[in-house]
Amino acid sequence: MKLINKTSRMAALRGGVAVLALAGAIGAAGVAHAATTLVETGSSLLYPLFNIWVPDFTAVNPGIQLTTTSTGSGAGIAQSMKGLVQIGASDAYLSDGIVKKHPNMLSIPLAISAQTINFNLPGLNGDNIKLTGPILAGIYSGKITMWNDPKIAAINPGIKLPAHVIIPIHRVDGSGDTFIFTQYLSDSTPAWASTVRYGTAVSWPAVTGGIGANGNPGMVSALQANPYAVAYIGVSFADQVAKDSLGVAKIKNADGKFLLPTATTVGAAADSIVTTTPPDERISMVFAKGADAYPIANYEYAIINAKQPDTDTASAIQTFLTWAVTSGNAMKYLTQVHFLPLPAAIVTLSKTQIAKIN
């Protein structure tokens, strides 16, 4: 209100020049580009990989401009379906409901990823504490509240667990990490499967002290800021997790073994489903069979609408995806984010799907 009074009292101002100068600058800057523009949005887990890919890809394909944004797999799926973006990045494949309603939507694997269960226990972050699906389900539904709970202590002999409340951190945005994490809880814990179920966004049970975070970056920051917290974080953020000296848990797989995510264990999980992957490539790698199979691994998907508005866009998408599953699957890119390349049989399936885009 005061502002307005002051204004009305004023007598002289010669400031129009600024506006005009700015307008002129815009006119000069609005030069049209002939390039085809693609926009990628979605998974914050895939985001770092896309950012590594883009400079090299556009160097060999100067006619294509690719913008990357990190929103969350839920947004990746939804915005690709709506045509707001050309490439939706998602850690989760499309649901049956969506595929039925939108038969043109494709789920195309680009690489293999995994998820780490991380914790921040002062003094214990060097130990790979063991956790199971049912224990994590208990923590995330508020039934297991203390770090020295007998259930946790029983499988971690020799580790002096603190008598402190556990702070579970979950994603607030629609997230593929939430999808694969809750899928692991559902597969391993019947009580979770019948109540909370799985999805990119679930109705988190109310847990006193629980925290919501935005994106994988938010999960890392929240975990770092909160001693005694536990979080599920995409493996492409493993370097940040290590830099902040946070703990990585050993997770119990379907065969009852406790494993860390390594190239061997994640590779074993991927190998176990190569032969059963269907042509539309929508399959869960979570809780895969095999003694060495890490239980929270997944295909990283590009969610693409097979029907694009024009041929330029369609061929630009095909060029990029083909590059991504071949040159882009080189270890020099993938090791930076701790991903694994697609097995040859899966690359073939992906290429068949890429060919459907028009």
Binding site: K6, S8, R9, M10, R14, G15, G30, Y47, G215
Partner: protein, 290 residues
């Protein structure tokens, strides 16, 4: 002790107590002022410190690459959205201001004034959500410069109308009457006499509206989208970058380079907004003193 002396002493004690209370009261008030201004100083300090140290030529000449690179695309995008919003909003806002000042002393005028105030008070995220439903969903424009600019325009039009009206009301009626006496038409009186007389006030309103649109975020999130590249001139079906996006998304990334960009963007936005506001106020005050 005599009764008179005791009363005197009590009065003395009372006066001392009142003085102490007064002293403490003033100290508390001074402290309150410090607590209001202190954070501003700290914000400017923190943002300038981190922001200025992230400055380089590259920042202004290259586009964003993932979470690193420069800010040219964001600076250009903010300028495009702001200028387009002004192009839409200024004619409407100034026109409405003229109507309200010159012909709005009636029931209709007060209804418009009231609804304009309601629009001013509407949270910007509500406007953003409206635009998402209408422009992005129903009209299918996709994230685009036009959807973003219209949203910002809706946000600033009521300010422009209000400030224009107040500025025009400062022009003495005698000037209007003189114009009519010379046989000038209504448009001539408004455009040749009233508006020039209030030009500085209208310009102030426009500058303040410009500052608002440079600093806005919430209405843009679901209308502008984001682009790593320079704007290609398309009004719809092409997302566009903007500075405030960099601030709130890049600060959440776990990389030093993205934090530096977030601070640099915040520094640019803050400097533009503060410069406009300080400039306008200084000129206003000088004008008042004369």
């Amino acid at each position: 002790m005599s009764a008179a002396a005791s009363i005197k002493a009590r009065r003395g004690g009372l006066a001392a107590r009142r003085a102490i209370i007064g002293g403490l009261g003033w100290a508390a008030c001074g402290l309150a002022l410090l607590l209001v201004i202190g954070p501003l100083v700290d914000i400017v300090g923190v943002v300038s410190w981190h922001g200025a140290s992230a400055f380089s030529v590259k920042l202004f000449t290259t586009v964003t690459n993932g979470t690193a690179g420069g800010l040219l695309n964001a600076i250009e995008g903010t300028a495009v959205i702001t200028v387009m919003a002004m192009i839409i909003a200024v004619p409407v806002g100034v026109g409405a201001g003229i109507y309200l000042s010159e012909y709005g002393n009636n029931k209709l005028g007060s209804v418009i004034r009231f609804l304009s105030d309601v629009l001013t008070g509407t949270p910007s995220i509500v406007l953003g959500y409206f635009s998402y439903i209408v422009f992005i969903n129903a009209l299918g424009w996709d994230f685009s410069a036009l959807a973003a600019s219209i949203t910002i325009a809706i946000l600033i039009v009521p300010y422009l109308a209000r400030i224009t009206e107040l500025a025009l009301r400062q022009v003495p009626n005698a000037m209007r009457e003189a114009g009519f006496a010379l046989g000038a038409s209504e448009p001539a009186v408004v455009f040749k006499i009233v508006l020039p007389g209030a030009a500085s006030g209208v310009m102030t309103g426009a500058l303040l509206a410009l500052a608002i649109s440079v600093g806005e975020t919430a209405p843009l999130i679901y209308t502008a989208g984001w682009s790593n590249y320079l704007w290609n001139g398309k009004l719809t079906h092409e997302p566009i970058g903007y500075l405030t996006y960099v601030i709130w998304t890049f600060i959440d990334q776990p990389y030093a380079a993205s934090h530096a960009l977030a601070y640099a963007a915040a520094f640019i936005v803050m400097m533009v907004v503060l410069a406009i506001n300080i400039g306008v106020r200084l000129v206003v005050r000088r004008g008042k003193a004369v």
